[in-house]
């Protein structure tokens, strides 16, 4: 993509998506990446794309990570009951991560930190009814998005809750992106709920936005064995008003 844009000076880095400076909590590694990029200001005399030759250090990310909590035990009751029970088991760890960090990424949908149970009730109801076009009715949350794009951000708030919960658990191993997705979609009620919501978006076949949101909801490869994106995706699509 940089070859099409032709930036004046570009440093290609061999790091995972979401980690453009390579190593979390390694200030010197990050600064060395930046120094190399800034060095192009001295050396490049025409548009240049240089490869960064240093791989990210092993930061304990694991492809084989497994969650110590056995969440598959939440197997009885309605979907909302099972999802509430799963969230309840993760809540102490999510609270601990927020205490340690003094911050959270939760809340993009418009939900406050205390709204997690209401967010679960809303999302599970959408999964069960397949209603993906009408704004969910709640007295507790002022939504920051319109439907169906709201679904994508409710999903992300719930995923953030799960990610923050496992971040505080003991052990040096942390899951990489693939391990996180495998856990969510093979071991959690949340994963089951996400797929059901995506099915609802599939059925809203007269809405191009709904089909696009399905692709924004489910990571590639985790929607019934394939891509959640429609075959033809056109940007930008304005959210329905």
């Amino acid at each position: 993509m940089s070859e099409a844009v032709v930036p004046p000076r570009a440093l290609w880095v061999p790091f995972a998506l979401g980690r453009p400076l390579g190593a979390v909590d390694d200030a010197e590694f990050q600064k060395n990446v930046m120094r190399t990029a800034f060095g192009l200001l001295d050396t490049a005399e025409e548009p240049t794309i240089e490869d960064y030759q240093i791989e990210a250090p092993d930061t304990g990310l694991s492809e084989t990570w497994s969650c110590p909590l056995n969440l598959t035990s939440e197997s009885s009751g309605s979907l909302v009951e099972r999802l509430l029970a799963e969230v309840a088991r993760l809540r102490p760890w999510a609270i601990e991560t927020r205490r340690q960090r003094g911050r959270t990424l939760f809340g993009i949908s418009g939900a406050e930190e205390d709204d997690i149970d209401e967010l679960v009730r809303v999302f599970a109801a959408i999964a069960e009814t397949g209603e993906v076009t009408s704004e969910p009715v709640t007295d507790e949350i002022t939504w920051a998005f319109e439907m169906p794009l709201l679904l994508r951000h409710i999903a992300d708030d719930l995923r953030t809750f799960y990610h923050e919960a496992i971040a505080a658990q003991p052990g040096d191993n942390a899951p990489d992106h693939d391990a996180l997705n495998r856990w969510i979609f093979s071991e959690t009620v949340l994963g089951e709920t996400l797929v059901l919501v995506a099915d609802g978006l599939t059925k809203a076949s007269d809405s191009p936005m709904a089909q696009l949101v399905r692709g924004l909801l489910i990571p590639e490869g985790h929607y019934r064995g394939g891509s959640a994106f429609p075959k033809e995706t056109k940007f930008p699509i304005e959210p329905a008003t």
Partner: protein
Amino acid sequence: MVRLSDLHPVESEHLRKRAEAMPAIGPGKWISPPALDQATVAIVSTAGLHRRIDPPFAVGSLDYRIIPGDIQFDDLVLSHISANFDRSAFGQNPNIVFPIDRLRELASAGEIGGVARWHYSFMGAMPDPSQFEETGEEIGRLMAQDGVDVAFLIPI
């Protein structure tokens, strides 16, 4: 940017097709900034970052959010639409995406001249980057007013 071979095959193929279809737009005007130890640096992110009080990004957003140079990380969130990148690193320490502390350290050490008062954030994942021309030129003027010499563009 990641190696395509490190991605899920479906995501890899998707990005390869996006790259092949991306229209060529460069190169722009060649500018040589002052020496780095005299240069003021601003971050331009395409990670969909913004302050918690700001409106989140929508699908196809072409606008931008301003991020003050004294931003505290408890005020910085992310509403990028893609589900296909790892957000846990940003949650752990936002410097890996928005390295404001690293810029401050480089400025303190005299390696760069200074840190801009304002930084800028866009939503990435846009197939045609030429659509950012108007807002790109706008933040260029804002950065010039802010005394910025170097724009450090960081994708997610």
